[in-house]
Symmetry: C4
Subunit: 323 residues, 4 copies
């Protein structure tokens, strides 16, 4: 495994990490979850990503149970939670948003579900236009000083919002956000590469990126259509299907078909190649992998070898496929 610093911080996460999103608490059972965490750990993964919204908290409960069962040393792994996933509102506004109340209540609830005394990483899962950024920064700072959180950050915030949080923290001697969790992959790269650019140097921001395979699209498995047994085909995933295939005018599937052709030429798996492409960006601190089977996880963890193996000319061809 390779380890990378989370931005300018001293925290070194595994370049490939494991996320509970979609699978834990729903699609897969407790014993499979245990096998996945164990395999990730055995392969050097030290960051396990989670959020209050994943399976409405059950993803955290399963992960907390499994990590306890496996007796992973608390000082050897990082676990995260996230507060307020904008797109899934609760009817009671006290149970959503980034007010001091919800940031603190959600932290306490995550600590309980995960059976830990502190969260290594705690994210604002989406921006909240109805809470002043300073209120959220102060709440995060208070949690860090109480020992309940180590590093705090954001997910899918605009560069302007992150910059405002950093400026507020500096003006008041508070802990500033240390990381962002954006989507990043061959089909979705502008925000990470352009919008956030000033934050890497000015604020030492790190990134833990999600969806390196664009929800599986970059594996090429949808090149010939969505199979009935595919996760994308289940009704509750309609919104995901739309998001994955995107605007037809964008021709995402066409791009992916060109990409998988290049992969075949190189003799590389498209999945590993797509993950390796993310790893080549030095501003990516960790690439979060999801998986429902150990074999799939282990294949994807070998993407690190691909980074070394593939040559510059080939990477240019890959970029051209998405032009």
């Amino acid at each position: 495994m390779q380890y990378r610093r989370l931005g300018s911080s001293g925290l070194q996460l595994s370049a490939l990490s494991f996320g509970a999103w979609v699978t834990f608490g729903g699609q897969i059972g407790r014993s499979e979850a245990r096998n996945l965490i164990a395999a990730a750990w055995d392969n050097g993964v030290n960051f396990f990503d989670n959020a209050e919204v994943y399976a409405q908290g059950r993803a955290e409960e399963v992960m907390g149970d499994v990590i306890g069962d496996l007796r992973l040393p608390r000082d050897g792994y990082c676990v995260s939670s996230k507060v307020f996933f904008g797109a899934v509102p609760s009817p009671n506004p006290l149970q959503r948003g980034l007010s001091r109340k919800h940031v603190i209540d959600a932290c306490h609830a995550a600590l309980k579900r995960l059976h830990v005394e502190y969260l290594d990483l705690y994210y604002c899962h989406r921006p909240d236009p109805d809470t002043p950024i300073g209120e959220t920064v102060l709440a995060m700072d208070t949690l860090i000083r109480q020992g309940k959180v180590l590093y705090w950050g954001t997910s899918e915030w605009s560069a302007a919002q992150i910059a405002e949080a950093v400026a507020f923290a500096r003006a008041h001697h508070l802990y500033a956000p240390m990381m962002e969790q954006p989507q990043y992959n061959l089909l979705h790269r502008t925000r990470v590469e352009e919008e956030y650019a000033p934050l890497y140097s000015d604020a030492g921001l790190g990134t833990t990126i999600w969806s390196p395979l664009a929800s599986g699209l970059l594996t090429g498995k949808y090149n010939d259509g969505i199979g009935a047994d595919s996760r994308l085909a289940t009704s509750s995933m309609d919104w995901l299907q739309a998001a994955v295939l995107g605007d037809p005018a964008e021709d995402r599937l066409g791009k992916v078909r060109r990409f998988t052709a290049v992969a075949a030429e190189l003799g590389e798996s498209p999945a590993q190649l797509a993950i390796a492409w993310c790893l080549r960006n030095p501003n990516v601190s960790s690439v979060i992998l999801g998986a429902s089977r150990v074999s799939q996880l282990e294949e994807n963890l070998r993407a690190l070898d691909v980074v070394a193996r593939v040559e510059d000319a080939a990477w240019k061809k890959i970029e051209a496929a998405f032009a």
Copy 2:
């Protein structure tokens, strides 16, 4: 239910909330208290107001018991307490005022009575001329950082006193007061509308207002005199009776009679109309309703419909009745 931000904060309280004042721990029993809280909660109320002085702490004990019984989720409701009600002094000055000692002791006592680990809102119930404002601001800031309070504010402070607290907090990087709890109703409006005006924009102050019905006077129930069975007629309420009816020269009853005539014309209940009038002020974050019967509470909660139903011309008539 409609929800409103507490001033510029991210905390969204129900526009209509429920207060224990006068009734809990005295006039009504535990099972009625339970029915009232349950009805409020079922109607979307998420803020339950209280104070150490209400029934000498018994109002908090009853509310804490009832909320526990009903198993309301801690992250779904807000509960408040208030320290130092100037008008009811204790002989021992350590048990009154806004010194660091009493602010902290009273917080601990309220946490115990309410069976909670933190107060969502904690108010200075009256100003204390014998304590420097900075001492109180520092005590509140310390309680917030210890996790025992989320937001602190004042009740019936002058704008100048609140502004001084805000300025002290800013100068020392401390949590500033976030809300005021003033009296506000058709008969008592200058402070909220004029005196506090600069604080809404400059300090983001929210207000949780009490006595929207002027202790029942605006319902018209005293239009023909105070009945023997009325709360106002009991001897311990003499001071309240004087306050409600006011200076004869003010002709409060005359105004109310004109108001109830307009209400009759509109086919609206005077109580709902008076509450709705408060709700029309965007600087009112929440209107606190008291009630001794569920039917009365439910009627008053329907004031939100009245806001939408009554037209501008009618509101002008109402204002004219109090000219």
Copy 3:
């Protein structure tokens, strides 16, 4: 009882308070201690003064036990401790001085002995030239923010040392010292009246003064020599005897004899008159009374009546006796 603010703070102490010095844990037993605390409380005393050095901690244990037995309400009384009485050094330097370690360790030990969760008042019992003042200020500030201390102060520090502590606190946004505990009586007045004068206005300093009777000398009981049964006659009190009688050239006994003559003329008890004289100084927040018998305490508590009763001309005569 009269109550006075501790300097500019909001804490209102009884103008006459009760100290454990000399008597608790030594001279008197547990039941007498209980009677004394009960009598003080019944007469409106709300401040009980103590120190780690009094009877090597036993004074605090007795006071803690007795206050617990009497079930005094925690929010109704103040209790103090003091760290580092310069004149009685421990051989191990970690167990003396005002280093961060000893200030914190001594606080924890006092909390345990007194059976309380916080000290209302915590004093540096003497200055420590071997610790930077800033280190002590920071330790006190940290204890206040942790909720273990409410107000901190000094005892027998020079005005320059107190001013340095105040300046350090202001420069770093820390809690500043709020009170001094100096000796103050008709024979010893310069420090309180002259040296500290700028601190009352500039830093809002309060004073809790000790030895209002100059260890009994001002009662006149030594006018005709020290009796064999007197506390001053016991061998372990040699140093006290020397301190009380002072430099013969000063003619302290002569002054006292003139004073008791004036008292006789006025028909007042010399003890009450001497205490009342301290109370007339508005910069004295509280006069600490020691006592080994309830009758003696009750007599001295009546000094408040003397303040009102004696006229200005008489006070001038009294001052003249000490010229």
Copy 4:
């Protein structure tokens, strides 16, 4: 015993202290460890030095057990731990370095092993180029404010690194490092005497120095070669042997032979003389002694007498031996 302030702080450590390095948890058993601690304590030692890396934590466990057994008063001794010994990396980067996570996790682990509620002294055992100094300063400050650490410092940091930490702390009103733990002896003196010089006056830095005997070399016991039963001869100590004997061109053994000749001339033990030489430097707060036998410890503790006994002319001769 003589006591010295830790730099400009108020903490007074014994000029000679006891370190667990090399011996505890390995070379010697629990009962010998107990005898050593008891002998040190009886001779006035009040500082017991340790580190997470010494025998992989077992040194701390043994020391914690023994101090508990001996019932040493918590306010009478100081105990230390150290985080991140650069030269012994863990494969998992979360378990090494000076990130907020490892600084905090390692503190909690040391508290547990030593059975204490706070560490008196907590050191960064080596600098970590992969963590910003500010992150480490903030973590240390947070631990101090939480009451888990009293004083923090560094070990074998460059003067520039320490100065950066001090500057960061001052800019943000944080607790600055108070001490360094460097190697210091007759063969290794430049850093303590020259490099750190500005830090003594500007930042009040104290030093707790290790290896006053250059791992035994200065006792003269290797003057005729390394015996088979010597600690230096065991295979796991190869690196130490190389470090002790040093670059042959330096002729360390030649210098030591000249030194032991001077010692013989003076009739002093070379070990005591070498330790006494360290004590003569006023910027040395405490000299840490290791020992595997009580007799050896007691001999070395008598080095304090040597300081007084040896005259200036003799010290010049000693310095000349190392020219």
